[in-house]
Symmetry: C2
Subunit: 271 residues, 2 copies
């Protein structure tokens, strides 16, 4: 039996609730000092693992309650109901290094796919108080930052058409290895400005028209699934480095527009 | 004529007001898309420059109104009243790359020195809604994030005594040049985890006990002056790479405690 089609009108409040629940689960662990490893050997309390699990648990429970026949795929607790028409893809804390370093650059990622195609995605940052969402056609950020005034802004990628004007982001150039490292360096050298340490925030900033290229390697499906409809809904394009579907992760290239994407792909492939 | 001694009780509300005023000056420019350079040659609108100037203007005006005989040293508008007992050191937006990339990792830095010694400092992040302050004896973060509940937390560096357990941060390993680059790489290789892209937030996270070492080069006085009393007030130590005063910037090493600082300095100097 197929589920009824889920529209943005149904999904938006559901994702708002996922953002609220996961934020409440994670925030008690943010800026808790991780135990220093040599103090309690074998018994290290790891706030990021605890927060990751707590958030994925509440997200899974909320999905199962409302959509018991849907599949779920999460970083912490694996897959269930595999093969269902709809699949939820969860990374409770993307950017765990930022999280354990107390920096506000991590996010909670939840994506929804229908027959393998991204239909809705969310990147929520509960410390800052902003939630980026998209359905592939339109993307927005809802901000509840300290003014407490709820602001919604439609996201639109920037019209940067030349690598020489482009801002490029990657989480760390040092986690890109071998030939891919040379390819990334070649591309970075052609760009105007490079920024590190962004994790999922860099893709959100690309959707918001602040960054023109995000280039990473070694991603898992749950690192990117939620971000695809946000990038596409803002007018951007995201593929693997060779132009394939980004849905399963791997080496990922996101760009604000097709022309820049094509130039970046050429440089990455050595032309 | 000497000014009366300024105590924390006088300074705290004054810095709160500087945080509010500079935040209001900057925020209208945050996430404004920078003009793409080739569209309007010679007439490029640069939001970070506009925001920098607007913030430094309101900070200077507020200081001059209350302390007309104090010296001021700012990134945008230089020095005035040089030689006065008290000097205010201002970087209206530290982390301009983060700012123009739309990421929440920049901050407004204001430090106060008496006869060249740091007596109070502030790192304010108006988008996130948190303000880190310190007077060299005690440091705190005041958070006005989305819950709108004003929370104050005393900052304390982490008791990490071994490089092998340490989290290290630098804004970008690629802006460290020559011999210093080799020294930094040697130190990073000894640490447990490295994080990039933090700018002033990395020092605040060190004070909060989340990061153990921050290592940077090529800093100006206004990049570090405000952070010194925050780091020291939380129990940390900050010097140049050779153990000298950090007040004029240069190559900077901040550590959560003296033992770790000493180990890091040894590795940086090649022992």
């Amino acid at each position: 039996m197929n589920s009824p089609e889920l529209t943005a009108a149904t999904l938006e409040p559901f994702f708002d609730e996922l953002a609220r629940l996961s934020g409440e689960a994670i925030m008690p662990y943010f800026r808790m000092q991780p135990a220093v490893a040599d103090k309690t050997p074998g018994q290290v309390f790891d706030p990021v693992t605890e927060a990751d699990r707590a958030a994925e648990r509440v997200i899974r429970a909320h999905i199962k309650k409302h959509f018991p026949d849907h599949a779920i795929r999460g970083e912490e607790f694996g897959r269930e109901n595999t093969g269902a028409e709809y699949e939820w893809v969860i990374d409770p804390i993307d950017g765990t290094r930022g999280f354990i370093c107390g920096l506000p650059t991590w996010g909670t990622l939840v994506g929804l796919q229908r027959n393998g195609i991204a239909v809705f995605g969310m990147m929520n940052q509960p410390h800052v108080g902003e939630c980026f969402t998209g359905d592939g056609k339109i993307s927005r950020v809802i901000s509840t930052s300290r003014t407490q005034i709820l602001k919604t802004r439609i996201l639109k990628t920037r019209d940067c058409l030349s690598l020489g004007d482009a801002f490029i982001a990657t989480t760390s150039p040092r986690i890109i290895k071998g030939e891919e490292s040379l390819a990334y360096d070649r591309l970075e050298a052609r760009c105007k400005l490079a920024r590190y340490g962004g994790d999922c925030y860099a893709y959100a900033a690309l959707a918001a028209g602040q960054i023109d290229l995000v280039v990473e390697t070694g991603l898992q499906a749950y690192d990117i699934a939620a971000l695809i409809p946000i990038i596409e809904g803002a007018g951007g394009i995201v593929t693997t480095w060779t132009g394939g579907s980004p849905a399963e992760g791997g080496s990922i290239l996101a760009a604000g527009n097709k022309a820049l994407h094509s130039q970046a792909m050429d440089v990455l492939s050595g032309y």
